[in-house]
Structures are given as C-alpha cells and as structure tokens.
C-alpha cells in the first residue's frame, strides 16, 4: 500500500509538469500585450520595452517556464500583472471562500443523492424509482446558472428571505452567521447540479450489490429484509460512493466558476473570470495550478480510498 502510494505520487509529478507546461504554453500564445493593459497609453515605445523586460516577457518560452517553475518551488507564484499583489497571497485570500462553497455543496449533494439513490435502487422499476431517475436527469440537464438565477428569483427577489448575492451584508463582514445566510443559495445551486449525476451512481452501486450472491445467502438464511438491506447491502454499496467525491472535484471546480459569478461569491472562480478579462497571466497560471493539483490529489485519494475500504482490490 505504501509503495503504491509513493509510486502514484511519483507518477503525479510528470503529469503535473505536463499540465503546467501546457497551461504555460497556451497562455504564452495568447494575443494581446499585458504591458499595454495597465500602462499609461502615452507611454513611449522605449518605456514599454523596459516594462516588458522588467516583467520577463522578452525571454524565450522555455526560459520563462523554467523561471516560473523555479519560483514555484520557493512558493512564489509571481506578481499579478493587474493588482501587483503576490499571486500566492491573492489565491490564499480566495481559497477559503471557494472551499467553503464547494465543501458545503458536496455535503448537500450527498444529502440529496444518497437517500434518493438507495430508495430508487431498493424499489427498482417502481413508480418511485421512475420519479427519482427522471428527476436525476432533470438535475443534470439544468444549467447551473439557470438554476442559480431561478433560486435568486424565487428566494431572493420574490420571497425576499435570502440575500441575492455577495458573501456578506455591507457592514457585517466577518460575521459568520451572515456569511452562512449568503451561502445557502449558492451552495444549494452547486450541490444540486452535481447531485443529479450522483443519484444515478448511488443507484447503480446499490443495485450491483443487490445482485450479489451473498445477499441471496443472507435472505436464504432467513434474515429479515431490513437487516439484509441495512447490514449487508448499504455497507458494501457505500464503498464506491465515498470515492466518487474524488471524481466530482473537477466538476465542482467548473461549477464554482459559474456559481460564484452568478452569486458574486468572491472566491477563486470569480477571480478566474477577472483574470481572464484582464489577461492576468500569472494569476491564471496560479489558479490553474491549484485546480490541477486539486484534481490530481482527489483522483489519488479516490484510488487509495478504494483500495483501503475494499480489500478485494489489490494494487502492486
């Protein structure tokens, strides 16, 4: 197990280098000169050249990349072209908000998906299963921003019970209860949009266990049905469900960009859009790096959890 973990970590290194290099290359190809963006339009050509030199934009691609990577190892992600703040500091400020949103959304998704998935699997082909399955299709078919606008319209505007956006009421920054109130709608929107796919996953996982021989054995020895379901089915069916969170991380990150924009939630998703609009390459690189690391870690975590909770799976 330990050597497997170490090997997976070692494999992740070239993947990470590949991801960052591709990222760097794509952004390098980008048209538009960041030296133009925030400089005074009256700036002379010579001054501009100096600017570019200072920002390291005149170096060849590979050198720029190696420099960036070297800086990265010391924890330095560069300076934002836009706000002149260190990128690592900007990300650190935003990371908490995004993690709060994504974590709550994931919990909400589990709370919706696990009970519904189990019920529809146990009552397979009943009207209840039919309703849940159809509902889960609706869940994956509604775009996150439309759902977001819908709940803002309903709860924020029409009923007026919850705030329509932002993270805090003005003047109440740092008040956690106030933040929680602002969290309800975006977290529900993000959670519901991944719950649809999750329900189907839980359902098929439970059905698969229900078809196993050891359940027939359990029934044959006369165990009451509730015991068969609770003790023998759910325990085994939930194994793959724990690990599915790992696979949902990339979806959560993408969903967070949209959700944060709709709800003006000042997390990394909103920062992404701002960085794109202002061609803030160092910030974009930093965000993509954090996101790629998150995806790699969650994949690794899913694999390891799988091996850990299911002794039938052996890695070598």
């Amino acid at each position: 197990m330990f050597s497997y973990t170490m090997r997976r970590l070692l494999i992740a290194v070239p993947v990470l280098i590949g991801v960052t290099f591709l990222n760097f290359f794509i952004i390098y190809l980008a048209p538009g000169d960041p030296a133009d963006l925030y400089a005074n339009p009256d700036l002379s050509e010579a001054d501009k050249l100096q600017r570019r030199e200072a920002l390291g934009l005149n170096d060849p691609l590979l050198l720029q990349y190696v420099k960036w990577l070297g800086q990265l190892l010391t924890g330095n992600l560069g300076i934002s072209f836009n706000s002149f703040q260190p990128v690592s500091q900007m990300l650190a400020e935003r990371l908490g908000a995004t993690l709060l949103l994504m974590g709550t959304a994931l919990i909400i998704a589990y709370l919706i998906a696990i009970p519904l998935g189990i019920i529809s699997a146990i009552r397979q082909y009943s009207w209840l299963d039919y309703v849940v399955s159809t509902g889960s299709f609706l869940g994956v078919s509604v775009p996150g921003f439309f759902l977001g606008l819908g709940v803002i319209y309903l709860f924020g505007v029409t009923l007026g019970v919850l705030p329509t956006g932002g993270m805090n009421t003005i003047g109440r920054e740092g008040d956690f209860l106030d933040t929680l109130k602002h969290l309800v709608l975006p977290a529900f929107t993000l959670g519901a949009s991944i719950a649809g796919g999750m329900v189907r996953y839980v359902r098929s996982s439970v059905i698969e266990v229900l078809n196993q021989d050891y359940l027939r054995t359990a029934r044959a020895k006369g165990l009451p049905e509730w015991k068969v379901i609770n003790k023998h089915t759910l325990k085994n069916a939930l194994i793959p469900i724990i690990t599915v969170a790992g696979m949902d991380i990339p979806m959560l990150i993408g969903g967070a960009v949209v959700t944060e924009t709709v709800f003006q939630w000042s997390g990394m998703g909103q920062l992404t859009i701002q960085a794109i609009l202002s061609r803030d390459y160092p910030v974009l690189m930093g965000i993509n790096l954090v996101a790629a690391v998150a995806v790699l870690i969650s994949n690794l975590w899913a694999d390891l959890m799988y091996a850990f909770v299911d002794p039938r799976i052996k890695y070598n």
């Binding site: 159809t134 299709f137 993408g254 995806v295």
Partner: protein
C-alpha cells in the same frame, strides 16, 4: 426460418454455406429489431426522440418559423409579450421568439460538431492504445491523465479567451478537449474484444492491424460509443450555454440561449422582465433533457440484461 433436415439438404443439393449466410442475416436483423423494440418500450426516450426531431426541424426551418429577423431591431426595447411579439422584445428591441428559434441552430451545431470531432479523435487514439498495448498504451495513458487533470471548464475558458470566442472556436475547443473519455472507453472495448476468438481468427487469416481494428473490433464497440456520444452532445450544449452566459461564448448579435440569459444578471431584468430569461433557460433544459433521455433509451436498449 424453415429448418432444413440433413436428408432434405442432401436430396436437394442445398449448400450449407448459403443457409448459414441466410441465418446470419436473419440474426443481424433481429438484433437491430430487438434493440429498436426495447427502445420503443422506454416511453421517455421515445418522447425525447420525437421532441429532438422537432428541435432539428425548428433549427432547419428557422427562417420560415421565425416571425422577425432575429438580429434586427424591431420595436421598443424590453417590451413585454404582446400579440406582435409573443415573447416580448429584448434590451435593444429585437424579437425574443425569433432569437429563441434561431438560437437552436447554435446549440445543435455545438452538440453535433464538437462530438463528431472528439469521437473521431478518441476512437483512433483509444483503438491504437488498446490494440498495440505496451509502451504506446502507456504514453497515451499518461497523455490522457494530463488532459483529464485539467479542470474542464477552466481550460475551456482560458482557451476560448485566447483563440477568441465564437461558434466555430467553441466547437473546436470542446472537440479537442473531449476525446480522453471516448479514448478510455474505446481502449477498454478493444482490450476485451481483442481476446475473443473471432479476432484471433482474423489475425490467423493475416488481416492487417488496421483492418482488424476498424472492421472486426470497432463495429462491436459501437454501442457504448453511441451512448457516450449522445450524452456528450448534451454536455457540450450545456458547456456552450455556460460559456455564452459568462460572455466567453457565442457573441451577440448572434443569438444563443446562453447569451440571452446574460441579461438576467441584472436584478431588475431578473425581477421584472422574466420573458428575457425564462424562455431561453427552459429551451436549454428541454434540449439537454431530451437528448439525455434518448441516450438513456439507447443504453437500455443495448443492454443485453434488459432484453
């Protein structure tokens, strides 16, 4: 099929091969029939297929159906629904219904175009990885790992900003990024089919690797691929609508259901001009939903356990 006794065959000089060939054809037809029959049992899938065909017709005949030119300013801006403008007019005075009808062209082209690109790439890459195995397989797998480690929407956003927004570029970006899932699927199918007797027979007969992959293996991997492509089209339409909503997709004045919703980011529009955003949002939901139902129907129909 009439059974032919051995005696009868000898008496009438009926060749064995001919009967076998006829038998094969018959079985093939009955397989497709069985799949179609199973699909027809899935009521939502059938309803989805009907609606999907209607959507295609709407896109094809948009100029005949739309009451106005979708990009021309017709009347006062932000007018509520009326007899002249069934769904009202938008912020600059264009007819919302006409824009809604024309926007179906955008969504369907995205769905079909991007899926066609990535299924083509994914099939070739996956088949090569699965069939050749060894180092080729390992390298392709690592590349797929890199692609799958990208947070999908983020990379699309960055790419689109760089090569520029617009319908064609979005088809391209979604097509170029979507292939790893298909490649995984095809690779898996190829790996399992590779071991079957008939592929070994084809190898023994001296068929070239390309012939074996594309004539012997791929037809048997088509089922899961078709299901994946159907769901993929739905996902692509959703991605385009998100991009257009964020302002990085199809650009106005061209209408897309996603960019028609951008206006609703203002609370005033959201609250008092629902005709500007609810119809286009519903069109996205309906389109994606019917495609997903069709995909579910195909998956059920191809599943041997359900027949």
């Amino acid at each position: 099929m009439r059974t032919v006794s051995w005696k009868e065959r000898v008496d009438n000089n009926i060749p064995i091969r001919e009967e076998m060939a006829g038998h094969e054809d018959n079985r093939h037809e009955s397989y497709l029939k069985a799949v179609a029959k199973q699909f027809m049992k899935h009521k939502l899938a059938v309803a989805g297929l009907v609606l999907f065909v209607l959507l295609i017709l709407m896109a094809a005949f948009a100029p005949l159906l739309a009451p106005y030119d979708p990009n021309m300013i017709q009347d006062e801006f932000s007018a509520p629904p009326s007899a002249q403008h069934w769904l009202g007019t938008d912020q600059v005075g264009r007819d919302v219904l006409s824009r809604l009808i024309y926007a179906s062209r955008v969504s369907l082209s995205i769905g079909l175009g991007s899926v066609a690109i990535y299924v083509a790439i994914g099939t070739v890459v996956g088949a090569v990885a699965g069939y050749y195995g060894g180092k080729v397989d390992m390298i392709i797998n690592r590349i797929m790992d890199i692609f799958m480690s990208f947070p999908y929407l983020m990379v699309i956003l960055v790419l689109v900003t760089i090569i520029g927004p617009g319908l064609f570029n979005i088809v391209l970006v979604l097509g170029l990024l979507g292939w790893p899932a298909v490649a995984r699927l095809v690779r898996g199918s190829v790996l399992s089919i590779k071991q079957t007797e008939y592929v070994k027979a084809a190898q023994a007969l001296g068929l070239s690797k390309r012939q074996i992959i594309f004539q012997e293996i791929m037809p048997n991997a088509m089922g899961p691929l078709l299901v994946n492509a159907t769901f993929g089209a739905a996902t692509a339409i959703l991605s385009e609508s998100s991009l257009s909503f964020l302002g990085m997709g199809v650009q106005p004045p061209t209408a897309s259901w996603g960019n028609m919703l951008t206006a609703a980011q203002s609370i005033t529009t959201l609250q008092s001009e629902p005709w500007l955003w609810i119809p286009s949002g519903l069109m996205i939901v309906i389109t994606v939903l019917v495609i997903n139902f069709v995909g579910d129907g195909i998956r059920d129909a191809l599943d041997p356990k359900r027949r």
